[in-house]
């Protein structure tokens, strides 16, 4: 809970209501026969009991959590067909016998009465949220043939002359994203957008081009940790969070927390540095300056594993990135920067500048990540115990997919362009990654700057209305799409804009593709189905099987009309044989269980082990031991993958890349340098808006969870206490926060944990879907006011570049 109120006063800020719990829930209660979701916001109407687990043994099913991205291993306790408890599964080296608050509250996601229960098609206006319950066949038919309200795929592909790229495919992160991607590839579109550009794109790419990989941090053995712009106590990452906080506060690991906000991570640190937002790059460059001028670097490592070290060194020194230079830019005292660089070097290689795991905050984020990676490497703390590690990974067998070529399918809807200085890039950004630039793409779509018509989209487990800056533009985009098909578990804000809604079952009701988890202690884990899907919901695998069975043949008929290559193939081999290469149902012929069995078939006994225990790795039976009540051994110390490459980076050259020449032609600094426009500034009377995560909520996906609402009923805007006093703002006063693009309302939390020129609130609240009983208009929506600032290299959304004003209302 961010807002600190003493225990028994906690109710003050909440609404008294009866809330949905788990076990005593009958399916009758959930299956209210709504014909539309138009007016089902009804706080207090649904009553729900939370009952204790039974006293008999029950039975456990090994699964993987999906309440956030970590995929921690859980054992689901089932009593009489009902899941009554989720417990940590101790066998998984990644999650090490833990389940956080959200993991425990997965039961409320499963038994949420607001869940999507059956297929629906739109009968009202777009975005109005009026739907009609239909059968699965009617829903598939509507996708193919449309209704009087919207066109179907056959009309769209007919009119677009079989340009398969006229449909956009987008997906959120998850194990079954893999399954959905099979559909995208078979369908033949070139337009794929995923969460990357609103998530890890710049950090993954920054480390990727510099070290050849986005490494993990060995926080179990690191003795010095710079935790900058990462909040591991609240944005939990396994195993990092568990490894780290057992050793902080004078117990083996010294942690320096660098964050504009005083977070729970700051509370657990040895030193907290309140940096000005967006200036971390200057901080790292100054640390690097100290290392290089005081000769604290690891020359042996540099000699063996660096490209262009001298050029980088010269750049740092010639630019005079001294701690004294960085002090006014960052707000961090020069003497602190000297001390930290020296302490880091003394602890190296058991020292970590933590890579972090978050979305892009500032426009310079890509360069920041490069500078962090190089600073780490200068001390030789790469691929070593206690440093950044590449680890090892257990191989899985590939399985067959389908990726036909359609002659008329156009290339990806991106536009190459050259700027005034002659730099080659794209309209949205300099480099277009696999996941694309979501907001760049969206904005161009709205501005009619597409190379061809994109008419519709398939959206899987993804909530663009809530997950990216400028909600209004996203709404406009969804309204402008002729056909929107959503596959989801909840009636999210995005689902409200759908033409066809396909209800997926939750993670506890399906088996997902088996996954291999690399690291110091590699393993393979699987999400096993715990109970059968409720209502008419299905796993995405079965949804796509049904959908492709419906659309494959009719769409092939359209291709036959326009695709000369297909016509030639038919002339040569006959229609039946030609169709086998375009049969969209092929990736979905096998069950998920069969596919999983196949991909682990290289390991004897793995399939059975995964089915029973959820986790497998070679020699598990001899390695895995319980050492104490809270302590397990997964691998003996001498079998752990601390160092797998003798420190050698994974870049194509095998070197740490200080300078990337090819970037210069794209207008990107080939080495990390500071630019004046990166400096932090806020106009007088305004505040920089910061956003972030929290240990009790995972973005909008968990905002309707009844159990989690007990822990944090709504989000509050952090305002510096002295500023609040000046403005006469008291705790829980309603505040309107506005930017150039919109406004949102939420309650005030005056605190000294934030700077006087900044405000903060948690992301994921303030949904507008009336079908979400608890999330509807609960708290404020950050993306309603975050301006769509595009990070220039990968087109990521820069989340902390918006100035706002606040007003008591």
């Amino acid at each position: 809970m961010e807002v600190e109120i003493s225990r028994r006063k906690f109710l003050q800020g909440t609404v008294a209501m009866s809330i949905v719990g788990s076990a005593a829930l009958s399916t009758n209660l959930l299956s209210n026969n709504h014909d539309s979701h138009g007016s089902s916001a009804k706080p207090g109407v649904v009553s729900f009991h939370n009952t204790k687990t039974g006293s008999d043994k029950g039975h456990d099913v090994a699964t993987l959590c999906e309440m956030c991205v970590n995929k921690c291993a859980a054992l689901a306790r089932v009593e009489n067909g009902v899941i009554t408890k989720l417990n940590p599964n101790p066998m998984f080296p990644k999650s090490k016998n833990m389940l956080c608050a959200r993991g425990n509250a997965g039961i409320q996601a499963l038994y949420d009465p607001d869940r999507l229960k059956y297929p629906m098609i739109r009968i009202g206006e777009k975005g109005e949220g009026k739907f009609k319950r239909v059968t699965w066949d009617e829903a598939y038919n509507a996708i193919l043939n449309g209704t009087d309200k919207f066109p179907g795929l056959s009309t769209i592909l007919e009119e677009e002359e079989d340009n398969r790229s006229s449909m956009l495919f987008c997906a959120g992160e998850g194990m079954a994203e893999h399954t959905f991607k099979q559909f995208y590839q078979a369908f033949g579109s070139a337009n794929w957008l995923n969460h990357a550009s609103i998530c890890l794109q710049t950090v993954a790419s920054g480390y990727g081009v510099t070290l050849g990989s986005y490494p993990q941090a060995d926080l179990e053995n690191a003795e010095y940790i710079i935790m900058a712009g990462a909040n591991r106590a609240e944005a939990i990452v396994t195993p990092d969070t568990m490894d780290l906080f057992k050793r902080t506060k004078g117990r083996g690991a010294k942690m320096i927390c660098v964050d504009p906000r005083f977070t729970n991570t700051a509370a657990k640190s040895d030193k907290w540095l309140a940096i000005k937002p967006g200036t971390d790059l200057a901080f790292v460059l100054a640390l690097t300056y100290v290392t290089l001028t005081e000769e604290l670097q690891n020359n042996e490592y540099i000699e063996a594993h660096f490209n262009d070290y001298e050029k980088y060194k010269n750049s740092i020194i010639e630019n005079k990135y001294t701690p004294e230079w960085a002090e006014p830019i960052t707000g961090i005292k020069a003497e602190d920067i000297y001390t930290i660089a020296r302490e880091f070097a003394a602890a190296a290689p058991k020292a970590v500048y933590y890579p972090g795991r978050r979305s892009t905050f500032a426009k310079n984020d890509f360069q920041l990540r490069r500078a962090m990676a190089i600073f780490q490497a200068l001390h030789g703390a790469i691929d070593t115990k206690g440093g950044l590690i590449f680890g090892s990974k257990l191989k899985l067998k590939p399985h067959e997919g389908l990726q036909p070529l359609y002659e008329k399918a156009q290339a990806r809807a991106v536009i190459k362009s050259t700027d005034k200085e002659g730099h080659q890039g794209y309209d949205d950004c300099a480099v277009v990654s696999g996941g694309g630039s979501w907001i760049g793409w969206r904005n161009r779509f709205l501005e009619d700057k597409m190379p061809y018509k994109v008419r519709g989209m398939f959206c899987y487990k993804h909530n663009p209305m809530m997950n990216m800056p400028n909600t209004q533009k996203t709404a406009e985009m969804l309204r402008k799409m002729d056909l929107v098909v959503t596959i989801d578990t909840m009636p999210s804000d995005t689902v409200m804009y759908a033409d066809v809604v396909l209800p997926e079952c939750t993670y506890l009701e399906r088996t997902d593709p088996v996954k291999t988890f690399g690291g110091v202690e590699p393993s393979i884990a699987v999400r096993n189905k715990v109970i059968d899907p409720m209502f008419e919901s299905k796993p995405v695998m079965e949804i796509l099987k049904g959908l492709t069975t419906k659309i494959s043949k009719p769409l092939f008929e359209i291709s036959k009309k326009f695709d000369e290559e297909i016509q030639d193939m038919i002339d040569e081999d006959g229609e039946e044989e030609t169709y086998t290469e375009f049969n969209l149902t092929l990736p979905f012929l096998h069950t998920q269980e069969e596919l999983n069995h196949h991909v682990v078939s290289g390991y004897p006994g793995a399939a059975e082990k995964l089915h029973h225990d959820g986790v497998f790795y070679p020699n598990q039976d001899t390695y895995y031991k319980q050492l104490a009540a809270n302590q397990f051994q997964y691998y003996p110390e001498n079998k752990k993958s601390y160092s797998t490459r003798g420190g050698k980076p994974k870049t194509p050259s095998g070197k740490v890349e200080c300078l990337i020449g090819s970037f210069a032609s794209k207008g990107i600094d080939p080495m990390p340098v500071w630019r004046d426009e990166y400096e932090f500034s806020v106009p007088k009377g305004k505040f920089k808006l910061l956003t972030g995560r929290h240990a009790q909520f995972t973005q909008s996906g968990s905002s309707n969870n009844a159990m989690l609402r007990d822990l944090m009923p709504e989000n509050f805007v952090w305002i510096n206490k002295r500023v609040a006093a000046e403005k006469g703002i008291k705790f829980a006063d309603m505040i309107e926060v506005s930017s150039s693009i919109g406004s949102t309302r939420l309650k005030a939390y005056p605190t000294e944990k934030i700077a006087p020129d900044q405000v903060f609130f948690i992301h994921g609240f303030g949904e507008e879907s009336e079908a979400l009983t608890w999330a509807y208009k609960n708290g404020g929506n950050d993306n309603a006011i975050i301006e769509d600032t595009i990070e220039p290299v990968y087109g990521a959304a820069a989340m902390h570049e918006t100035n706002v004003s606040i007003k008591k209302v």
């Binding site: 225990r7 009991h49 029950g58 396994t238 991570t265 040895d270 009540a629 240990a695």
Partner: protein, 187 residues
């Protein structure tokens, strides 16, 4: 027969509320923000930004202390509150008349009202759920990401908790009241 207690490595606590949630799910605690058997206490931050006192913001996980000399038991007029054969302070809801004397007597604020039964509820070390099934950990201990809790038999010299209390410094809350808590905070 055992004498159950709990040692808390409270410096590990990151205030993530996994314990509170696991407790609620396991023991069927009434839904609602003020209904919980366990909680994490936090201190209000001291100082002015950016000069804040890191030590003022300590996270202090807490729950019923299962006192050997429990004031709640002493004041209960109907013997609804009792110490069971394993040293766990429990409430017999059939005998509770909701006089709330126990709530006032408890120095640790560890009791609340369950509105479903209109009786007083509190932590019972999962006696009716996990312990009844023969399990050896409480829900809060098992789920904790940073492993704050060690639960076990204080009378068994070979138990992990006995070993930890022999080898590590610890303190009890409000020890001067003479309640003899069976929760021990490790320093």
């Amino acid at each position: 027969m055992a004498r159950y207690g709990m040692a808390l490595d409270y410096k590990n606590c990151i205030n993530c509320k996994a314990c509170e949630t696991a407790c609620k799910e396991e023991n069927g605690i009434l839904m609602g923000a003020d209904k919980h058997r366990i909680w994490v206490g936090t201190g209000e931050i001291e100082g002015e930004y950016p000069l804040l006192d890191l030590t003022s913001n300590v996270f202090h996980p807490s729950q019923c202390q299962h006192c050997d000399d429990a004031p709640c038991e002493e004041v209960c007029p109907t013997q609804a509150t009792y110490t069971d054969e394993n040293g766990i302070v429990r409430v017999n809801i059939d005998q509770c008349i909701l006089c709330s004397y126990c709530m006032n007597a408890c120095p640790y604020d560890a009791r609340y009202v369950d509105d479903r039964t209109m009786t007083v509820d509190k932590c019972n070390f999962c006696a009716e759920t996990r312990l009844a099934r023969g399990e050896t950990t409480t829900a809060c201990q098992a789920t904790c990401p940073t492993k704050v809790r060690i639960f076990g038999d204080l009378d068994d010299p070979n138990s992990e908790i006995s070993e930890v209390l022999r080898t590590r410094e610890h303190y009890s809350l409000k020890a001067h009241l003479g309640t003899k808590p069976k929760l021990f905070y490790l320093t």
